[in-house]
Symmetry: C2
Subunit: 356 residues, 2 copies
């Protein structure tokens, strides 16, 4: 079933209002959440709405947080999210990064005491209209084993980087630091298909193709998949995201990161507060005139897009192309929501005496 953007957004907004979010926060959270559906990252959109509601029911989300800077220099800050929705905390922290970049060239904000923040790309893209490069990363529920380990020590810890161009659309990279994000496993589970070797391992750390392996003690693999294909580099990337987001801010890091699902208990002996994010903004004209840079980005994009292709594809993609094309399409056709998610949304509707 496909649903119009406005209908999905309105419902999401009503739910956040029912949770007690102030109107502006509910609007912001809805913008962030439904942007995932529009960009084709269905695992991070309204499919997660019921998860936020359950976290709120479990008293793990504060709908009226006092989000504040607890430490800062002209180009840095740590923000305490006061257990608010990451969907609200992260864009507010990104605004602080942008303000600092306006003042001294760059701004870097590490966030503690937050929750799941939706798609990393949304926050990074906030920088674009200011002629800034935006960066965004977050730690997440531990599902990923380091190279040589059988323990789940890291989340899928995504990195997003948004870079403005002139006539070309912006360069927007937004990716999990694992071979495959969890959302891809969920798709295989629904279809009853096997996963490629290199995505997951079983409880003993052996390669597995069973997309249900995580339920049996298995783990997602860092980008690279195995040591021969440099999974240690994916492990480095996931670790850097974890440290920038959580150790730098004082959030829970590594295996202590709080699970997104409310039915899993919080890790014992927490090492920090909540989940962590890291947001950055760099003013282009801190380096060179923005017009010059953006013209060069057009040259970069045009040259890469016109690179000779293999027989696999008609053209070389620029990071952000697939999501932007999806957004154009879904504005017309609506957002497809799978049956299982529709059932969840109807449950949420019932919970709050709304209709969906």
């Amino acid at each position: 079933m496909k649903y119009e953007y406005d209908k999905v957004w309105e419902f999401t907004n009503e739910v956040f209002l029912k949770m007690g979010c102030p109107a502006n926060d509910a609007k912001l959270a809805s913008d962030v959440l439904v942007s995932a559906d529009m960009r084709g990252i269905d695992s991070h959109g309204v499919a997660r709405l019921i998860g936020y509601v359950r976290l709120w029911d479990a008293d793990r989300i504060n709908p009226t947080p006092s989000i504040k800077i607890v430490h800062e220099t002209p180009s840095t800050a740590v923000v305490d999210g006061d257990a608010g929705l990451g969907l609200v905390v992260a864009p507010k922290a990104m605004e602080i990064a942008i303000d600092k970049a306006n003042a001294v060239g760059t701004g870097w904000v590490s966030v503690k005491n937050s929750n799941h923040y939706g798609i990393a790309g949304y926050h990074a893209m906030m920088a674009l209209e200011h002629d800034m490069i935006g960066m965004s990363m977050t730690n997440a529920s531990p599902l990923v084993s380091p190279t040589f380990s059988t323990e789940r020590m890291l989340g899928t810890n995504p990195i997003a980087v948004a870079i403005p161009a002139d006539k070309q659309p912006p360069f927007v990279a937004d990716f999990a630091t694992t071979t495959a994000a969890n959302g891809k496993l969920e798709i295989l589970q629904r279809k009853g298909e096997d996963a490629p070797v290199g995505w997951i391992q079983d409880e003993q750390g052996l390669p597995s193709t069973n997309p249900e392996e995580l339920k049996k003690g298995g783990a997602l693999l860092p980008l690279g998949g195995d040591r021969v294909h440099s999974s240690h580099k994916g492990y480095c990337l996931g670790s850097i995201v974890d440290i920038f987001s959580a150790v730098l801010s004082g959030a829970n890091f590594g295996p202590w990161a709080p699970p997104f699902v409310s039915f899993l208990p919080m890790p014992k002996n927490p090492v920090g507060e909540g989940l962590g994010h890291f947001l950055g903004a760099m003013r282009i004209d801190g380096f060179r005139p923005a017009d010059e840079f953006k013209e060069n980005m057009d040259v970069w994009i045009e040259r890469f897009r016109s690179a000779k292709t293999t027989s696999e594809a008609p053209k070389v993609l620029i990071p952000g192309d697939p999501e932007r094309e999806m957004e154009v399409e879904r504005k017309v056709t609506g957002i497809p929501i799978n049956d299982k998610v529709v059932i969840d949304l109807k449950e949420v509707a019932k919970r709050f005496e709304l209709s969906f």
Copy 2:
């Protein structure tokens, strides 16, 4: 054959002096270059010395550069390397980043008009003694094809991040954004062994196991290896390094990056000046008290190092462990230099009337 550090360093220093470098620059360049050998990254150490000499012979390296800031804000700068050795330009740019971090919390320097800068990790690690996180990246000779392309558009574009701890040694990640760095292919070439699938493709973009494939129009593959294993993420990472290092500074980007080997012609219609780097420093106490952070890093490192292992390895490694252990070993046993490199170094010795 194994050579003592001092002997290798002295010879390298003599060579840079013969090229006309001022004494301080020759010393700095030797420190950077031979640190690669000590850390076990043999492809980036004295094995490259003859390459720098040939670039100098081809008038592509200026031994007495006037390295200067051409644009800046309190937290940012663009540095013009004046065609100097990257081994000298990069650490000087990193010092500027550290100065800016001291002043306003972080410092970010994009460099143009430079050359090969040795191992990325050296420059990032300069931040550690200042209780700062150091970052370093560089673009490089185009050898890597984007996902779906047969053209070599990017270098192996490494990223290094160095993070201080307290009682534990620092976290030091330093890796090419490809599945395998070029140095690994050179090792296979010498041994006459095949490469694993996922490291390289042939001229048509098909998987190849021939380590000589690059000589026949093939290419290295971005981290991930193929689309199914998310090579688009390695392509994103390599692109981000290219844009931060070269588009932000005004250096040559993408396929226009100058080749390191002097026998290849410079690309026509350059889009910038020389090669580019990007260096960053973040003061820990811009975020939270450095002691607190470093104690937490100890917890992070101890927890990850003691994670349960697979049958593949006796322990989980922390980024930087293998290089640090190698450095300890080579201080005692000396630096192994292979016969082909010894022949090159003897040629360099003859060229400058030195002995090796």
